[in-house]
Symmetry: C2
Subunit: 294 residues, 2 copies
Amino acid sequence: MKELDFINIIKEQIGTEFIGDDCAYLKDLGIVITQDSLVEDIHFKKEWYTPYELGYKSVAVNISDVIASGAEPKYITVALSLPNDINNYFIKDFYIGAKDALYGAQIVGGDITGSSDKIFISIAAIGTDKGRKISSRASAKSGYSIIVNKNSVNDFGKSSLGLDQLLRGIKKSDVIEIHKKPILDYDFAKMIASKIESEYAMMDTSDGLADALFKIAESSQVSIVIDDINGCFGAEDYKIVAAVPKEFLKSLSNYYVLGEVVEKNDFIIKIGEKEFRSYKDLNLYDHFGGKYER
Amino acid sequence: MKELDFINIIKEQIGTEFIGDDCAYLKDLGIVITQDSLVEDIHFKKEWYTPYELGYKSVAVNISDVIASGAEPKYITVALSLPNDINNYFIKDFYIGAKDALYGAQIVGGDITGSSDKIFISIAAIGTDKGRKISSRASAKSGYSIIVNKNSVNDFGKSSLGLDQLLRGIKKSDVIEIHKKPILDYDFAKMIASKIESEYAMMDTSDGLADALFKIAESSQVSIVIDDINGCFGAEDYKIVAAVPKEFLKSLSNYYVLGEVVEKNDFIIKIGEKEFRSYKDLNLYDHFGGKYER
């Protein structure tokens, strides 16, 4: 897998201190930072999205990383590279969509340039650690509970179904709406990050629930066992999953316990009766498989 | 000019509090942030650059904005969207180049994705205001001196000449080297920002010296008069120009006085005997005109 090769080369070049979580935690500045791009014909087809939806989604996927880190979203910068046929309406509608996905953050700058034929969007987002405990995917410990937002538990996999429908030429449906306009677990992540005192792991399920748990288990050198719920393998959910101490649950509300962290086992994650022992294992089992780019 | 239309629409949507300078100054966090993209066939031709040079330049142009704000460069994130034919060597060499342009900053993350055919690079850079006074292009005042680095005064316009040669098919020369590998006025900007107490204006000359002075004069509601030196109109110099109180000069070394800020006049800037009254005026006079994209 080329992307993994590339990431390993980058790690060799710049070290691993900040590489691992979706956000880099810059403790001296009290902030986290993340940057994610959306590229036409790689992450989206232009005909699928209104400019509003594109603005919304580009910002939401970055804000999602910030809230999953436990930080409070504060500022974003937006870089757009746009082909010649883009008009004023596109820019206005894109920014109206972008503003609707800010979850309290503010757009403070960026860049606008030409592009020979495709739309490129790259967004950097900053959050603060003020009053928050920042998560790390390496901080899950044996005995911790795996939790998700009770209101989101039936939503896993829906975004992926929506993408599947788009790829099959369907234009409008509830799951397509979910795919194009992800609603983040902002309150849920905030409740955890502002109440917890222990080290904990939290991620968004941007590559699917199973994928997030796999990464947490691997980084934390533990194994994870969860119930077999629907939609574990669908990407682009942008929901929150966390591994927190069992005794911390009494400080929380509105959570759903999906499973627990156990000592490192032969498997890395176990979903129902099915064990996953390698990342390859996980991908082979990806029964949606329809993600436009993995 | 389409880009200006777009920027006006963006200003309408997100307000102007942070728009104006190349970096946004986030006072509550004590940082500045900037984000700039380099797009294949818009900002560069692939055959002109080694991966090393591309890594170097993408980082340097962002660090340049940070040092021109007066801040100390601290962290950057790098987002790359790359076509399928990019290999491991490209990534490694790109990052070696990127590291050589950090001026003390650290690469802390980013994103790597596919792209259908063009290379797209977007970098966000953060600097701190610790021990520094942050500049604003709106802070030039009548009576201020316009200064540049004494060592850089003969370099204005060289980058633009280099680009001109590249466009004419020349492969190697001193000015091409300057175009591809800009050397920043790091020490000069740092000296100013760490010693000055008054409000002041400072910019990099990424769109040319005349362009920077025009923007300072316009934002500050003043006019600027400078000597007619060579290279005022060449873009991509990435040198520092500042407007500082005359009495501050005695705290400085290694500066060259190019001219001064005067009360708002009929002209916005005056270079030698030539007056420029509008941005259009400035562009008409652009005798290099060879910039790949303006």
